[in-house]
């Protein structure tokens, strides 16, 4: 299976070219309700993650809340 390179939270990652955003989230065991996701600096509606196919050089940011003042 062909692999593509993407960046997740600043780190390089190699995934199958058939991967959807939802597959990545599932693979990373990310609790969807507690995060927000950006794809190439655009916020993704979480309802649509299983419709988005990942492409070579995609940049994904997954953020959540941590302690802060």
């Amino acid at each position: 299976m062909k692999k593509i390179k993407i960046k997740v939270n600043g780190k390089n990652r190699s995934i199958s070219e058939t991967y959807k955003l939802s597959d990545l989230i599932k693979h990373l065991k990310i609790p969807m309700k507690k995060v927000a996701i950006e794809l190439n600096e655009e916020i993704i509606d979480k309802k649509n993650v299983n419709k988005i196919k990942l492409k070579q050089n995609d940049k994904i940011e997954i953020v959540h809340f941590i302690g802060g003042g």
């Binding site: 997740v8 939270n9 600043g10 780190k11 990373l28 065991k29 990310i30 609790p31 309700k33 507690k34 995060v35 927000a36 996701i37 950006e38 600096e41 916020i43 509606d45 979480k46 940011e61 997954i62 953020v63 959540h64 809340f65 941590i66 302690g67 802060g68 003042g69």
Partner: protein, 257 residues
């Protein structure tokens, strides 16, 4: 006594103390301190999920956002673009519209960049956010923030984390006089009495993080701040006596033997 709630963006809160969730040793220490403080609003930061350590404890597992109002902040943002990106992401996590805007201008003194802050307040308000704005203790800037739709004015007492207490009482009083918006002292408090002073100046609330989290006994300090805010508010509402230069005897002069 009639109800004396803090009202921000039409939401009522009994507690006038807002606390930060940063700098605690552990999540459970943070959660316990918040409980003791009685705070109903806590500030939180937006950061990357640690994808290599999935067992890292999550803030939401310790502080239930259904019970405590999360106030996402933009800490660490140095321009409008970063701040907008951060708060749009925060909203996406779970529909948060009440936010704390903080755009810093200098890495050393952590003073806010008020030009970027003003720009961001305007954009965010137009996007439907209710923006509580960390700002300088400058009455003119506070007025401008109000004019572009800020939900609360949050001037610093002193630099973030400095523990210096309110440095410019006059400016805070002038801002109090000119605005009906919630006025909350944000940043720079060091001890409980600083919070009392803020409340006695007529502020609607205080936001404290370091002074509690980094106290030798954070739980005791959380309680101290809770009491200090209540005392300050009661004192303010009670109407203090006029100051006089000379003494005024407390016992009647009539009937002295």
């Amino acid at each position: 006594m009639k109800k004396d709630n803090l009202i921000i963006a039409k939401k009522k809160f009994k507690s006038r103390l807002i606390v930060g969730t940063g700098k605690y040793k552990t999540m459970s220490e943070c959660a316990k301190a918040i409980k003791l403080s009685g705070a109903e609003i806590v500030t939180v930061a937006v950061r990357r999920v640690n994808i290599s350590d999935k067992n890292k404890p999550l803030l939401m597992d310790y502080i239930d956002p259904k019970k405590i109002t999360y106030l996402p902040n933009t800490a660490g943002c140095f321009n409008s673009k970063e701040a907008l990106r951060t708060l749009r992401l925060a909203r996406e996590i779970g529909g948060w519209k009440l936010v704390k805007l903080e755009v810093l201008g200098d890495k050393e003194n952590l003073f806010p960049d008020m030009i970027e802050t003003l720009k961001s307040t305007e954009v965010l308000t137009k996007e439907g956010f209710r923006v509580m704005v960390y700002c300088n203790d400058d009455p003119l800037m506070a007025k401008r923030l109000e004019n572009v739709g800020a939900a609360a004015i949050m001037p610093l007492a002193a630099p973030i984390g400095s523990g210096l207490g309110i440095q410019n009482k006059i400016n805070i009083q002038i801002i109090r006089k000119q605005t009906k918006l919630p006025l909350i002292i944000d940043a720079g408090l060091g001890q409980a009495s600083d919070a009392t002073i803020a409340m006695e100046l007529g502020c609607d609330g205080v936001l404290v993080n370091t002074a509690i989290a980094k106290a030798k006994k954070p739980f005791d300090m959380a309680l101290a701040f809770k009491n200090a805010v209540i005392a300050g508010r009661q004192s303010y509402n009670s109407g203090r006596i006029d100051k006089t230069l000379m003494g005024n005897p407390s016992s009647p002069l009539k009937g002295i033997i």
